[in-house]
């Protein structure tokens, strides 16, 4: 009985390997059979991850999609905030991600009862995110940075010998310059569960890509105040793009990043998003 059983396992194993690969490669072909959106990105939105430790042994090249959200509040009066935090919301909690949107994602939004000391734990949920390239969100961000330079300048004029005021003005000017030339122009501007509905709202396929992401929530409150639900955009489901060999050669030193201040040669890359919102690099070249 051993030989027939052995043969059966053999065919079963070959069948599993074949089926999995067929599904994977077939899925790729199906995804790429229709381009949902096509974004012309640059070294500002695509950055090679840092190589440290044994990462340098990895001969594959990949680029991370660098995206942002608009600050949770208008920071024009936030000149007093410490440098480094001006205009960039590291917490990824946009003002438009309110309770209604979280409820639409399936989160329970009823606050815990009065007297509750233990709030429900945060849970991650998938959602469709709208990525906007060099659009109104980016323009508002530039305007905010410019207002902060004006406000910092006014503060320095009021206290001309203040070193803190001088530092803040310098930082505000640097931040504005970075926003114009270095920082990513890709902003998450909306999210939802219905991809088609989002696409119907954001029709420009050369400016808006609809991708899968993960949203997280947390219940928070001030002192003994009421509980409130805050949402944040945690990450993209596919945050990293593989760069094929020929395109990696075209990228040159931009494909490898060892330290923060490393100068990156400018490049232009066209990223397409398919039927399943899985992206791929269509072309790469110097800008």
């Amino acid at each position: 009985m051993r030989a027939p059983t052995h043969r059966r396992f053999g065919w079963l194993g070959l069948g599993v390997i074949a089926m999995v690969n067929a599904l994977a490669l077939g899925g790729v072909a199906w995804n790429r059979s229709l381009v949902d959106s096509r974004l012309p990105l640059s070294e500002r939105e695509l950055q090679a991850p840092y190589e440290y430790g044994d990462e340098a042994e990895d001969s594959g090249v990949a680029l991370d999609l660098v995206w942002r959200v608009a600050p949770s509040a208008d920071g024009a009066d936030d000149v007093g905030a410490a440098p480094g935090w001006l205009g960039y919301d590291y917490a990824r909690t946009p003002a438009w991600l309110g309770v209604a949107k979280l409820a639409a994602l399936g989160y329970a939004t009823t606050p815990p009862p009065e007297g509750t000391t233990r709030a429900p734990r945060p849970r991650d949920r998938p959602a469709w995110l709208v990525l906007e390239l060099d659009g109104p969100a980016y323009q508002r961000h530039l305007a905010l940075m410019a207002r902060r330079v004006v406000a910092a300048r006014a503060k320095l004029e009021a206290a001309p010998n203040g070193s803190a005021e001088k530092d803040r003005l310098k930082d505000a000017i640097d931040r504005l310059a970075d926003a114009r030339t270095k920082d990513s122009r890709l902003f998450v501007v909306d999210l939802g569960r219905d991809r088609d509905a989002l696409r119907a709202t954001y029709r420009d396929r050369s400016r808006y890509a609809i991708v899968e992401g993960i949203v997280s929530t947390t219940w928070t409150r001030d002192a003994q105040g009421p509980w409130r639900l805050e949402g944040s955009i945690d990450r993209l489901r596919i945050p990293r793009l593989h760069v094929p060999r020929d395109e990696a050669r075209a990228l040159g030193s931009a494909a490898h990043r060892q330290h923060y201040d490393q100068a990156v040669p400018p490049f232009r890359a066209v990223v397409a998003f398919g039927r399943r919102a899985e992206p791929w690099l269509e072309s790469v070249g110097p800008r």
Partner: protein
């Protein structure tokens, strides 16, 4: 020769050796004396039997061979893990130098080729050690195949990959009688079922590790599977399924008995922890009782281990801060002696199992 598996063959060899030792003892005590013809016949029969079993199943013919086998098992496990890691890092070192078509071709050839090579080797390797090496490499190549295809084509991650990995691991385990691959398959299946349980509630599947209760449903599946699938031909497989099921039950319960915030239950944290402590004690005791009744030593031992772990955890909660350390450890030692005495009494009172 009627052994169907290596374990049965080894039991037969041990039986023969035990018979030889007992016969020598009876002869020395003057209780039994076989004629020279009978002794020669028995010796001839046993010699042929041992030769046949050694040739078919690579059994240990004496104590020295058994000790060497234990060393070979460790060496083959370490060798298998190291070879699998080497395959992974080899691919990682060179894959960026190939274009996409070559990368895909290499992955497919590695997955198919290593699987076929494993089956072929299994037909020739009576000991099973080299088959274990090859099987782990085949499993690694398949995992690498799916992971690297996902990276090359930016495919969104899904828990379905765990199901595919489990499927191949089980096929290799049952085709080649390898518990290592069975454990790999069980781990993947556990991950898949737990992740799918999470996605049904709308959660992102990679979040599953933050909620220990997701692992409880799969515990029942793992524990009961040997009840409806005959595993007599596969040494230790049934015990592996049962122990895995118990671990999927006890480990989350142990975590939740100390971390009530990790539960879906909306009760007060102390109440949740107390509840899971009770569940832990009750299920450990139930496992011991069930194991004793069904003759499942693996279940008894796992139940005892976790009963003691839950007990020591409670002792720590109650007394660590308020009791001198020497007294704390003395009580722990006395409890261990008590458990030893109870188990010894059980063993003495159990009727002898027929061979």
């Amino acid at each position: 020769m009627s052994a169907a598996s290596r374990q049965q063959a080894q039991q037969r060899v041990d039986q023969v050796r035990a018979f030889e030792r007992e016969l020598a003892a009876l002869r020395a005590d003057g209780v039994l004396q076989l004629s020279s013809e009978q002794e020669a016949g028995v010796a001839r029969h046993h010699r042929q039997l041992l030769a046949d079993l050694a040739s078919a199943f690579d059994v240990d013919r004496d104590e020295a061979a058994r000790q060497l086998s234990a060393g070979m098992k460790v060496a083959s496990f370490l060798g298998a893990v190291a070879l699998a890691a080497s395959v992974f890092f080899l691919f990682r070192q060179f894959w960026g130098r190939f274009d996409t078509a070559v990368q895909v071709a290499v992955l497919l050839v590695a997955a198919f080729g290593s699987f076929l090579a494993t089956l072929r080797l299994h037909g020739r390797d009576a000991s099973g050690y080299f088959t274990k090496l090859a099987a782990l490499v085949a499993f690694t190549c398949f995992v690498l195949d799916t992971v690297m295809l996902g990276a090359i084509f930016n495919i969104r991650p899904t828990e379905n990959a765990l199901l595919a990995w489990a499927a191949l691991a089980f096929i290799l385990a049952y085709a080649c009688d390898l518990r290592l691959l069975l454990v790999a398959g069980i781990l993947c299946l556990t991950g898949f079922v737990s992740a799918r349980t999470g996605t049904w509630s709308g959660m992102y599947w990679l979040d599953v590790g933050r909620w220990p209760e997701h692992f409880l449903p799969v515990a029942a599946l793992l524990f009961t599977l040997p009840l409806w699938l005959d595993h007599r031909r596969f040494d230790g497989f049934a015990a592996t399924w049962r122990i895995s099921g118990l671990l999927c039950l006890f480990l989350p319960v142990l975590v939740l008995s100390n971390w009530g915030d990790g539960s879906y239950l909306r009760w007060d944290t102390d109440v949740v922890e107390g509840f899971y402590q009770l569940v832990g004690f009750a299920t450990a005791a139930a496992a011991i009782g069930l194991g004793v009744r069904r003759g499942w030593n693996d279940v008894v031992n796992t139940g005892v281990v976790f009963f003691v772990v839950f007990l020591y955890t409670k002792f720590f909660d109650w007394w660590w801060e308020i009791m001198p350390k020497y007294l704390f450890f003395l009580i722990v030692a006395l409890v261990a002696i008590l458990v030893l005495a109870v188990l010894r009494r059980w063993r003495a009172e159990r009727p002898a199992q027929p061979a």
